[in-house]
């Protein structure tokens, strides 16, 4: 006779042990990292934080609405920075995407890894860091912001677009090839129509993200609303800070709505 277990357990004893060991490792790692991280923390400041928060909160209210007219030009700059930056990003990303896609890349051994490296490098450096570099190189202003947004967008658009290119339907491409089309014509009539909706969707999506990012790029000197935010923070003009934050929030909500509508219409 086999001895059946009397009570049912969720996991076998071995799995339970492994699970506990995993949790133990995670907790130990967490405690260790916590110790390292807080080694130089001044705890008095942290216990003081609620009072500070109340103090700042009190100073921030009410928002200084009379400051609004001064913000309209920076707002326009921010929108321009996002839009023109997206445009630049798209122009740079499309060739990279075609080089990176396995089915359109002219050389799998040399150009494809280079294109993939461009995509990863652009994705791993945030636009704020790009802006920091470009402001140091080009001087403060919109141009640095536009280029920063463009460079950051290459990775995002390039990655999504090359995945879309790799997912194209091979039969349509074969049909165009069978008519005796040249490689350029295959690209134009076989692949481009298939990725067009994805392309516009990705572009609008990135534009929406870029609006968010361009609003803060000014913190490092790249113009737009962030510049005003930085100026207000430096002069401790908290009511102005509130107004700028509200404006940024409003812009983000509107751009998200626009992008959702456009993507809904395309896809």
């Amino acid at each position: 006779m086999t001895d059946f277990p009397q009570t049912w357990a969720f996991r076998s004893p071995r799995a339970r042990l492994a699970l506990w060991f995993g949790w133990l490792c995670l907790v130990a790692l967490f405690v260790y990292c916590w110790q390292v991280m807080t080694a130089n923390t001044i705890w008095a400041f942290i216990w003081d934080a609620p009072r500070q928060a109340a103090d700042i909160g009190g100073r921030m209210m009410p928002p200084r609405l009379s400051y609004l007219p001064e913000l309209l030009v920076p707002l326009w700059d921010t929108l321009n920075m996002a839009t023109l930056g997206t445009l630049l990003g798209v122009i740079l990303a499309v060739p990279v995407a075609f080089l990176a896609a396995r089915n359109t890349s002219p050389s799998l051994l040399i150009l494809r890894p280079i294109a993939l490296f461009i995509i990863v490098a652009s994705r791993s450096i945030n636009s704020l860091i790009w802006a920091l570099l470009l402001v140091a190189i080009l001087g403060p202003g919109l141009l640095a912001g536009i280029i920063a947004i463009g460079l950051r967008s290459i990775g995002f658009i390039g990655k999504l677009l090359y995945e879309a290119i790799e997912e194209t339907d091979i039969r349509q491409i074969e049909a165009v090839t069978a008519t005796g089309a040249s490689p350029a014509q295959v690209l134009n009539y076989g692949i481009v129509p298939q990725i067009m909706p994805a392309f516009w969707g990705i572009t609008v999506f990135r534009w929406d993200i870029n609006i968010r990012e361009s609003a803060i790029l000014g913190l490092v000197g790249a113009g737009g609303l962030g510049l005003k935010l930085q100026a207000s923070l430096n002069t401790l003009a908290w009511p102005q800070v509130t107004l700028i934050l509200l404006l940024i929030l409003l812009t983000v909500v509107v751009s998200e709505w626009v992008s959702a509508r456009v993507r809904g219409a395309i896809i």
């Binding site: 700042i56 023109l84 945030n126 920091l132 080009l138």
Partner: protein, 266 residues
């Protein structure tokens, strides 16, 4: 006799109405003219910048890891510990919020509270949150840790809630039919279905948090971003190049290993 067209024109794909197409292109051109016009170009400054740009590219090609290695490694340790602790705390907080924001297992009032927490966390950018937390908690990685934890909540809780709403109802129903309490339902009916994805999301967020930790340092929240900011402010482009290469390398390793682990888990 029928006269067939001798040439073929590709039909428009997205905007099918001809008038709309013309209107759109006019609008786009008008915007480009106005928009490009509003960009002020200071050519003198740009030409001057060319030399600096070359120096930066040189710094990138010949990065100097050694002379500032102590600062770089300190920044990296701060960034990495900040990333891990904030992901753990953020995920720990977002699990109950995520469960509360799932329509199928939470009552309506809990659902609305949790959804609004998620909305607030997602609407505020990390950098802006970091500015305030630095003002409240002082400079250093602790403010960064709080920022990243806060941002993690919105991300993980939203995706977890959507995942819980997508579970196979039959399994939850079966558990319910045994007379299980709500906690037992979550433990035996929901948790096994969403656990692989939760682990995947946490790994993905770990990756994002590291990238963000490089950014929020610029506004004073510690980590590698602070080191990078100092290097650029001092025009030490070779050190800055080294830091950027380290960031790119870590992000690449994190991205490949997390995507490998996620594939392994699913």
């Amino acid at each position: 006799m029928n006269s067939y067209p001798t040439t073929w024109r590709r039909p428009p794909q997205i905007v099918t109405d001809r008038r709309w197409r013309i209107a759109l292109s006019v609008a786009v051109i008008a915007y480009l003219v106005i928009g490009l016009g509003s960009v002020e170009l200071n050519w003198q400054r740009i030409v001057q910048g060319g030399e600096r740009g070359l120096r930066f590219i040189n710094g990138f090609l010949q990065p100097d890891f050694t002379s500032r290695w102590k600062d770089i490694s300190n920044g990296l340790i701060e960034s990495l510990t900040m990333t891990l602790t904030s992901t753990v705390v953020g995920v720990a907080i977002s699990v109950p919020i995520g469960i509360g924001a799932a329509r199928n297992i939470a009552p309506a009032w809990v659902y609305y509270i949790c959804r609004s927490i998620i909305a607030v966390s997602r609407a505020l950018q990390e950098v802006i949150v970091a500015i305030f937390l630095v003002a409240m908690f002082g400079f250093g990685p602790f403010a960064g840790f709080l920022t990243l934890s806060f941002a993690t909540i919105g991300f993980i809780a939203k995706l977890l809630a959507e995942d819980i709403e997508d579970i196979d109802e039959a399994q939850a129903e079966a558990i319910r039919a045994t007379g299980a309490s709500w906690l037992q339902l979550v433990h035996y009916g929901v948790q096994p279905q969403v656990m692989p994805r939760l682990i995947g999301l946490s790994l993905y967020r770990l990756d994002i948090n590291f990238r963000e930790s490089a950014v929020i340092g610029i506004v004073g929240a510690g980590g590698i971003g602070a080191t990078l900011n100092t290097a650029i402010d001092r025009y030490e482009y070779d050190s800055a190049g080294a830091i950027l290469l380290v960031i790119i390398a870590i992000v690449m390793v994190a991205e490949y290993s997390s995507s490998y682990l996620r594939k392994f888990l699913q």
